[in-house]
């Protein structure tokens, strides 16, 4: 996992991509390292998470970590990236500004949907390979990437773009980006929950990514919970072998309202809890069967804040260390 310098975090929508990407950036920045956390969807999720004002198209420090490490964040603005690009290749920055006012830039990214992704991956590659005083500026770059349904296109789009744009500098640029993305410098991590759809999408994404020769990192199981009962009771309950009668005697030792119906209702809830747990356990096996390193992150109680992120980062650090040792 940490042989890589470019960490791309994907997963089904809502599984915690943004949260995990942020926690991973913190983990990688520990012990004095400098990490860039990149947002690609233009939703300012990172600013929200770190409780800072919306990020401009500029690398800004959002957190410091132990040993003077730091995480900087960048929310890539596609239009700005296109202007930068025009400037770089054609010295057209001023004309570009006028066009932006006319809505022409929006239009350009719309007629060639892949253009957007090319600009994003191009910018990411630039950050990964940027050097100053003979060393890389960033020890690692973490990308809060598009969801599993679009990730292979997103990362492979440069190849596709090269086909669509059969001439022009895009074609030339694509090759450089693909070289980084397909190298061992890159790891694509997939975030999942222990639910049917996310696990299914994780399996699909891994198959697609490997078919596209993109290097896959770990599977990150997010929002994992602990069962409330000991193993044996759990199994019995999951099979429906738990009734109010099993609880009534012990409940009788304290004063509670409506004990009869109460015991049955509590038992029904335990059965549901246990069944949910059993279903999760089965999915855990499915995740293991994907043959990738797996790390579980707990469901954090209460609202997500920077404190929670550091806690999740701690878990990821352990995982990184174990991966290196292995």
């Amino acid at each position: 996992m940490s042989a890589a310098r470019l960490h791309v975090v994907t997963g089904k929508g809502g599984t915690g991509k943004t949260t995990v990407a942020a926690a991973l950036a913190l983990a990688l920045a520990a012990d004095g390292r400098t990490v860039l956390l990149v947002e690609t969807e233009g939703r300012q999720g990172i600013a929200q998470l770190f409780d800072t004002p919306p990020l401009p198209y500029e690398e800004r420090r959002v957190a410091v970590t132990r040993g003077h490490g730091e995480v900087r964040a960048l929310a890539i603005d596609v239009e700005e990236a296109l202007l930068e690009y025009l400037d770089m290749f054609y010295n057209l920055r001023r004309a570009g500004r006028a066009l932006r006012k006319m809505g022409a830039i929006d239009f350009a990214t719309a007629i060639a949907p892949g253009l957007r992704d090319v600009l994003l991956t191009g910018k990411i590659k630039e950050a990964v390979t940027r050097r100053e005083k003979g060393r890389p500026v960033y020890d690692a770059v973490v990308v809060d990437a598009p969801p599993t349904g679009r990730i292979t296109r997103f990362l492979g789009v440069t190849a596709e773009m090269a086909q669509l744009a059969r001439s022009g500098p895009i074609r030339t640029q694509s090759d450089g980006v693909m070289a980084v993305l397909r190298s061992p410098q890159t790891a694509v991590h997939v975030v999942t929950l222990l639910e049917d759809m996310p696990v299914q999408e994780t399996a699909d994404a891994i198959a697609e990514l490997s078919a596209a020769s993109l290097p896959i990192g770990s599977v990150i199981v997010n929002m994992a919970t602990e069962p409330a009962l000991p193993e044996t009771d759990l199994r019995r309950a999951a099979e429906g072998g738990l009734t109010g009668a099993d609880l009534a005697a012990a409940l009788g030792t304290v004063h509670l309202p409506g004990t009869d119906g109460l015991a049955a209702a509590l038992a029904a809830q335990v059965v549901e809890h246990a069944q949910r747990w059993a279903a999760q356990d089965e999915l855990r096996d499915d995740v293991e069967a994907l043959g990738r390193p797996v790390v579980e992150l707990p469901l954090m109680p209460g609202p997500m804040d920077v404190g929670c992120l550091f806690e999740l980062a701690g878990r990821l650090e352990e995982h990184l260390r174990a991966e290196v040792a292995a």
């Binding site: 669509l164 022009g168 500098p169 809830q269």
Partner: protein, 416 residues
């Protein structure tokens, strides 16, 4: 074109919010009568919409099943069903046409199909032009990228397919699932956005400046056009140009076509069901959608609040359950640990239910007229007919439940 039933009125169970209805905090959400909606012969189209991942597909399929069991001839248009559900319904073959699903004992018929957007687009092209011209379009690289990946194509094709199914007039009821876009509004906006894009001035200027009338072409556009061809390569522009002119001769503009499909949603007999999970993001989307429907004068049946966690009993609060768990452990004896665990499970459940109810209340205070139906989270996911039937029961059954929590809510109203 389809013939409207003589007395086409609004289907039962829908309502148009009174203009200017003001939110009244603390009001109870009205119950939603989906059973009446699906059985009413005047009800011909139900559109299930909402943010991605909230259970639109399952809700559509369950409503379709319930209607078929109530004797109607139903087709469910699904967009992106979970694989296991698709498998168990035999929807895996992508022939882009409805297939009958065997529902033992149903008085009506259930048909279902999975949208193949590229194929739907290809069909339009083939149906509206000569074979040679159709082939030209189908081979065009820009068309190929547009029909398989342009943002909005899926929404637009879903609308198109709905139009086709409705025109066939062989169905009593069409239930439509909407594409899994980030925003629920995409479904309403995409067809227009796409048609604006395809016959917009910009594309004409770029692809055929002379035809669009040179007097509108400013120097800026010419620079832009040059940049575009430099960056993307001139070939792409030529492909677009060829595609647009082929399309033009084919059926006088995309916009008209998109408008026609959009009009369909305004016809009597259509109603919308907004689906959300009890989470802030999903409910925010649901809110936007409800406002949008009311602005557009589209009839809303109500909100399905999916995957709620009502407790099996409410006699014990979370705090009391936590306390009792400690007391039970202190008293000791056989089964004490198990009983304490059961009490903690209950405490967690009450806390979760309270959070869900709080979110539902916030929605209702902003939209007091919107009917609500909650659907409890099944222990696993729904992936067969049996699971759908259970969900259909929760959607269309009576509003009261054995636990005394009405199906408009996650927790009962607190009495003072």
């Amino acid at each position: 074109m389809a013939v409207e039933p003589a007395a086409a009125t609004e289907p039962a169970g829908t309502h148009r919010p009174a203009p200017g209805a003001r939110p009244q905090p603390g009001r109870e959400a009205p119950p939603m009568d989906l059973a009446a909606l699906i059985t009413d012969p005047g009800s011909r189209i139900i559109v299930c919409c909402g943010a991605g991942g909230v259970g639109k597909t399952t809700t559509s399929a369950a409503l379709g099943l319930a209607a078929a069991e109530a004797g109607r001839r139903v087709v469910v248009l699904t967009i992106d069903p979970a694989r296991r559900l698709a498998q168990s319904l035999g929807l895996e073959e992508l022939d882009n046409e409805p297939r009958r699903i065997d529902v033992p004992g149903a008085a009506g018929e259930l048909h279902a199909m999975m949208l193949d957007m590229k194929r739907t687009f290809d069909d339009i092209v083939v149906a509206h032009s000569t074979p040679e011209r159709a082939q030209q379009i189908l081979d065009n690289p820009f068309y190929q990228s547009l029909s398989s990946s342009f943002a909005g194509t899926q929404e637009y094709m879903a609308m198109e397919k709905l139009g086709q199914l409705r025109a066939a007039d062989t169905w009593d009821l069409i239930v439509v699932d909407t594409p899994p876009s980030r925003s629920a509004l995409d479904f309403l906006d995409a067809p227009n956005r796409m048609s604006r894009f395809l016959d917009g001035t910009m594309i004409r200027l770029l692809t055929a400046p002379s035809r669009a009338g040179l007097k509108f072409v400013s120097a800026g556009f010419l620079v832009f056009s040059r940049i575009i061809s430099k960056v993307l390569g001139g070939q792409l522009l030529r492909d677009i140009s060829a595609f647009v002119s082929a399309l033009d001769t084919m059926f006088g503009g995309f916009r008209e076509r998109a408008n026609a499909t959009y009009e369909l949603l305004h016809r009597p007999g259509t109603s919308f069901v907004v689906v959300a999970t009890p989470e802030p993001d999903a409910l925010r989307e649901a809110s936007f959608f409800v406002d949008r429907l009311s602005t557009e004068g589209l009839p809303l049946a109500g909100l399905v609040l999916n995957r709620t966690h009502p407790p099996a009993t409410t006699v014990l609060s979370a705090t009391r359950a936590e306390g009792a768990a400690e007391e039970v452990v202190e008293a000791g004896g056989e089964g004490a640990e198990l009983a304490a665990a059961a009490l903690r499970v209950h405490a967690e459940r009450m806390t979760l239910a309270a959070r869900e109810q709080h979110l539902a209340d916030r929605f209702t205070s902003a939209h007091p007229d919107v009917a609500v139906r909650t659907v409890h989270a099944a222990a696993g996911d729904v992936h067969d007919l049996e699971g759908l039937r259970e969900m259909a029961g929760e959607l269309t059954g009576p509003d009261d439940t054995p636990t005394g929590i009405p199906r408009t809510r996650v927790l009962p109203v607190r009495r003072r």
